[in-house]
């Protein structure tokens, strides 16, 4: 693979919270290296506290690695890169004092999009996520699933090459999650964007990802990367195939021991962590 195909290059990245002498010292991530290919959807999956979100925030420039480097589009990341990277957070990252369309436009105001373009781009992205009829609603008037659609529209309107999603469906019920996953697969297949998607759900990972990176328990490192090899957009019937269950079982096998380790760790440290 040539360097041109790599959207994000992560090299020997570690992150620790606090100093080694502190009681609260946590090594969240240890010597992780990873290449994310342009246009792929990579899922990060692993036990709680393994550093998946930490890695995502370091790629997005919201957090500085303790050691190691992250390059995006060939340049070292030193802070947020609003022109290259958009985020979708877990929940409630929409501004409650703005309507849906104002939320989307405000993102473009921050990014520096010309005023004349904002309205058209906002409407286009809201239509793409199926919120055409709700643009003047406030976030509080929408269901959790619709709020996440709006957050996705805000990210899409920024027209970045990369979107980082931190458990975007984590707070939703199973059915809403499934539908959003299906829609996301269709939507993203059309855009060709590079997506990094943190999730706890094995099914979601297999259904959405081109590759799934499985993390070990803390200190987190990438234990294995599984390729899914199924064209996008994925059909809903993909879930019922043998290939799907085999991949899901493989992930389950890789994760099970790590999750048990993570649970034992947190039990040893006590309920504070």
């Amino acid at each position: 693979m040539t360097t041109g195909d790599v959207a994000v290059r992560v090299r020997d990245v570690s992150h620790q919270f606090g100093e080694p002498s502190d009681k609260q010292h946590v090594r969240a991530l240890l010597d992780t290296s990873l290449d994310i290919t342009r246009g792929e959807l990579l899922c990060l999956i692993g036990p709680s506290g393994c550093g998946k979100s930490t890695l995502l925030n370091m790629i997005g420039g919201l957090l500085e690695p303790t050691s190691g480097t992250v390059d995006v589009a060939g340049k070292a990341v030193r802070g947020p890169l609003p022109r290259d990277i958009a985020f979708v957070f877990q929940e409630n990252a929409l501004f409650p004092w703005c309507t849906v369309i104002e939320n989307v436009k405000l993102g473009m105001v921050f990014q520096g999009v010309a005023k004349s373009e904002q309205d058209g781009r906002a409407r286009k992205s809201l239509e793409a996520v199926g919120l055409k009829d709700f643009i003047n609603h406030y976030p509080a008037q929408l269901s959790g699933g619709m709020r996440q659609r709006a957050a996705l529209a805000r990210a899409l309107s920024l027209e970045t090459d990369i979107i980082l999603m931190d458990e975007p469906f984590g707070a939703l019920d199973e059915q809403t999650r499934m539908i959003l996953g299906e829609d996301l697969s269709v939507l993203l297949a059309a855009t060709g964007k590079t997506i990094v998607f943190v999730t706890h759900s094995l099914g979601e990972a297999v259904y959405l990802a081109d590759r799934v990176a499985v993390f070990s328990a803390r200190p987190g490192r990438i234990k294995e990367i599984i390729a899914v090899n199924e064209p996008h957009p994925r059909k809903p019937s993909f879930v019922t195939t043998e290939k799907f269950s085999n991949l899901r079982n493989t992930l389950y096998g890789l994760l099970h021991d790590e999750i048990r380790k993570a649970v034992e760790q947190s039990a040893a440290v006590g309920p504070a962590l």
Binding site: G61, F95, L106, Q111
Partner: protein, 254 residues
């Protein structure tokens, strides 16, 4: 609750409220006319009403009202500017919040009106001391609510805005201020109410003019009916001002 039942219960509670006020007025009337309560202690409501009409018709209330309102507006302007500015400055550092929030809350809980004699010594019997005490007392709820408003903005909003490239100025206008505004407005409303209370109160204690001064002056001259008329007038003015401020607060919160 269905809208219809809601309306009915609202009407019922209104009816009870009106009946209560009417009952008090009736007791007042009966007590003064038939039960022999001294008119020096409690004048007849009909007499009070006549006095009130006289006060309004002659316009003699204007000088006092002007003094009280000027004191109120000046005091509130001072405490708003000081409270919001200082509150914002404190909220920018978790260390400052940890140091100053308990300190300010502690001072807020002592009855500052006790220092009125000191204020009179410093600023004289005129409007100066009323402005100073009003500004001091209303400063605390405003600064505390401003700290609470700006200091506890949900981190995810700041992170999201930062990830989209918000500058510091954009962060203030589009994220911090709208997130903090409801709490700050509540502080301003409380500040306004306590400023009004403390100014009227200190006018009754030591002053040269103002509605509070006038009320005490009439009481000392045994003109109880006119005093009641002025009290009613001051109550209406205060209610109007508070309703205006609450209305502004509600509207901006939507």
């Amino acid at each position: 609750m269905s809208p219809r039942r809601e309306l009915r219960s609202k009407l019922a509670s209104r009816a009870v409220q009106v009946a209560f006020v009417a009952g008090v007025l009736l007791l007042w009337y009966l007590g003064t006319n038939y039960w022999g309560i001294s008119p020096i202690l409690l004048p007849n409501p009909v007499k009070v009403w006549a006095e009130l009409r006289d006060v309004l018709a002659t316009g003699e209330f204007w000088p006092d009202l002007r003094v009280t309102l000027t004191e109120l507006v000046t005091a509130f302007a001072i405490s708003c500017t000081g409270g919001v500015t200082l509150g914002y400055a404190i909220s920018r550092s978790p260390f400052c919040i940890k140091v100053f929030e308990p300190l300010l809350a502690g001072v807020y809980s002592i009855p500052i009106i006790l220092f009125l004699p000191l204020y009179v010594l410093f600023f004289g019997l005129g409007p100066g001391s009323k402005i100073a005490i009003g500004a001091t007392i209303s400063f605390f709820p405003i600064v505390l609510n401003t700290v609470a408003g700006f200091g506890y903005v949900d981190k995810i909003f700041v992170t999201a805005a930062r990830s989209m490239g918000a500058s510091n100025i954009q962060m203030f206008w589009h994220v911090l201020l709208p997130a903090a505004l409801p709490v700050i407005l509540t502080g301003l409303r409380i500040g306004f109410t306590v400023a009004l209370l403390s100014i009227l109160g200190s006018e009754t204690l030591a002053s040269l003019a103002g509605l509070g001064h006038r009320i005490v002056h009439l009481a000392e001259g045994m003109e109880t009916a006119r005093m009641f008329a002025y009290i009613a007038f001051a109550v209406v003015i205060a209610a109007c001002l508070n309703a205006t401020v609450s209305g502004l607060e509600r509207r901006s919160k939507r």
